[in-house]
């Protein structure tokens, strides 16, 4: 459903992505793992139109979305939970969620989804009128995922959702990601440094080094791969 073909992305003169190709099928969970500075965030920002690639192509259902404005890409159903959560700090939890549904018109369905995310993360109900910036890291991550769900994504991109969170909360978040995938058949593209957890959740995985994809395989095979175990699993 989402096809990234040989993209090259630059920041000024610095090339961050070199000939990156990734394919994601409908309903899949695909993980992208790699060290700091490998280019994982850049890959997601390229897909979303924030850092568009200089060459190559990105296809959604066969149609190119390269060079399409970021807000139009959201409209097409690709929604990102960015690195560092990026909650709007001076909007309330409720307003943050409403911003997630910014492009939708049907008030009844928005309300329905609001109730849905509050059952997914009951703590958000309690924090409803609190400013986003005052939430804890874990709560912010839950809010960030919920905000993305409010857009009813077809493809959900998650950038290091486990970063800086306690093991128990990480477990909870990964369970929710699985649930979102199973219950609404949402396609998931998951960027993680926490390779072990990510590969256990994913169907397939990509390994990125210095802006290039160096390995592609099923998640099970990557978990068993010696190089991956040494480099990313600390075994």
């Amino acid at each position: 459903m989402l096809k990234i073909q040989n993209i090259q992305t630059f920041y000024g003169n610095i090339q961050a992505l070199k000939d990156v190709s990734i394919e994601i099928e409908e309903g899949e969970i695909v993980a992208l793992i790699g060290a700091n500075g490998a280019g994982k965030t850049t890959t997601l920002m390229s897909i979303c139109g924030i850092s568009p690639p200089r060459s190559g192509d990105i296809l959604l259902d066969g149609d190119s979305i390269k060079g399409v404005a970021a807000d139009k890409i959201v409209q097409k159903g690709i929604v990102q939970v960015p690195e560092g959560r990026r909650i709007f700090p001076d909007l309330t939890v409720q307003e943050n969620l409403e911003m997630g549904a910014f492009l939708r018109k049907n008030k009844r369905l928005i309300q329905q989804d609001l109730n849905y995310v509050m059952t997914l993360f009951p703590i958000l109900e309690k924090r409803r009128t609190q400013l986003g910036g005052t939430l804890s890291g874990g709560e912010q991550q839950m809010l960030a995922i919920s905000r993305a769900l409010m857009a009813r994504p077809r493809v959900l991109l998650l950038d290091e959702p486990s970063l800086g969170l306690a093991p128990l909360i990480i477990k909870q978040i990964f369970e929710i990601i699985r649930k979102i995938n199973k219950e609404s058949n949402t396609t998931i593209f998951l960027v993680e440094q926490n390779a072990n957890q990510a590969l256990k959740l994913a169907d397939r995985g990509y390994v990125m080094e210095n802006g290039r994809i160096t390995l592609v395989d099923s998640a099970d095979k990557l978990l068993a791969n010696d190089d991956v175990r040494k480099a990313y699993l600390g075994i």
């Binding site: 807000d71 709007f88 911003m99 997630g100």
Partner: protein
């Protein structure tokens, strides 16, 4: 006591006008971190449009308040169009350029608009009709606050309430706040940020035009240079209150208005500006980000 109240209300009137113009500076700065130096010129253009409309209306025999409203509405529409065009022509092409570039462009637009009005109109002061009549019900308090002051205060208060509702309650307002807090994240939830920036310029310009019309009919004259002075004062108010902060602009405007009024009334009108800019230095020494300003967090 009477003298004090008189100064209080004249300061409040001035201050509310400064606040109205300061809002335009602060809203634009909040979103794109640009000091729009041409903002004062929009104020001036608003006053000139109102002058022309008032002239035409007088020929058709309309009365004071109805001219004021009509001239105000048309001035606002014109100013909004100017603000929208200004952003599109002078700032949008420079988005992503080093920060100095749009700043220079802003100064250029300010000079351009001044000279455009200078050439199209005249360098002389033109008399502006006093469109605000003396209301009979203001008679008992006229020695403290006059009818023009009352009209200015009521108009600015109503305008600010409407602005607050727009920003707090509407979809566009929420998108404006989100864009101000994290522009790329706003894009990632589907906000067309270019449209929000245009909207900010349009709103700020409309507010400046309201200020321009009110002051012109209060003072009774206009020329091409009035935008510069009003702009400097309003910019000072915005910085004083904390640039980027909307309540800050209102507070900054009022503090500045009162400072000027009391300094002129109790010390000497010759020292009015010395006193106000002294106050600016003092407040910025104690609170570098302004009264309500937050030290800007580094974005990652």
């Amino acid at each position: 006591m009477e003298y004090f109240l008189q100064l209080f209300f004249s300061g409040l009137t001035r201050g509310s006008i400064y606040a109205l113009i300061a809002l335009g500076y602060t809203m634009v700065y909040g979103i794109i971190q640009l000091i729009n130096f041409a903002h004062g010129e929009i104020y001036m253009i608003g006053a000139f449009v109102a002058l022309i409309v008032a002239g035409v209306c007088t020929i058709y025999g309309l009365s004071g308040v109805s001219i004021l409203i009509l001239a105000g509405v048309i001035a606002v529409i014109y100013a909004c169009a100017y603000g929208y065009t200004l952003e599109k022509v002078a700032y949008r092409p420079l988005r992503g350029a080093p920060r100095l570039a749009p700043l220079i462009s802003a100064i250029g637009m300010s000079i351009f608009l001044q000279n455009y009005v200078l050439l199209a109109q005249t360098s002389d002061f033109l008399p502006f009709p006093r469109l605000i009549p003396d209301f009979a019900f203001m008679e008992p308090v006229a020695h403290i606050i006059g009818s023009p002051e009352l009209v200015i205060l009521v108009t600015t208060v109503v305008t600010m309430i409407l602005l607050t509702l727009l920003i707090k309650k509407t979809r566009v307002g929420k998108a404006m706040r989100a864009t101000q807090q994290d522009m790329n994240m706003a894009r990632l939830v589907g906000v067309n940020v270019d449209r929000i920036i245009s909207m900010t310029f349009i709103i700020g310009s409309g507010l400046a035009a309201i200020g321009g019309v009110l002051v012109a009919s209060y003072i009774g004259q206009v020329n091409f240079y009035i935008g510069f002075l009003a702009g400097v004062k309003a910019f000072t108010a915005a910085v004083l209150g904390g640039i980027g902060s909307i309540p800050g602009a209102v507070i900054g405007g009022l503090v500045l208005g009162w400072a000027e009024s009391f300094a002129a009334g109790y010390i000497s009108s010759a020292y009015e500006d010395v006193f106000t800019f002294g106050l600016l230095v003092l407040i910025l020494t104690l609170r570098p980000a302004g009264i309500l300003g937050k030290a800007r967090k580094q974005k990652v």
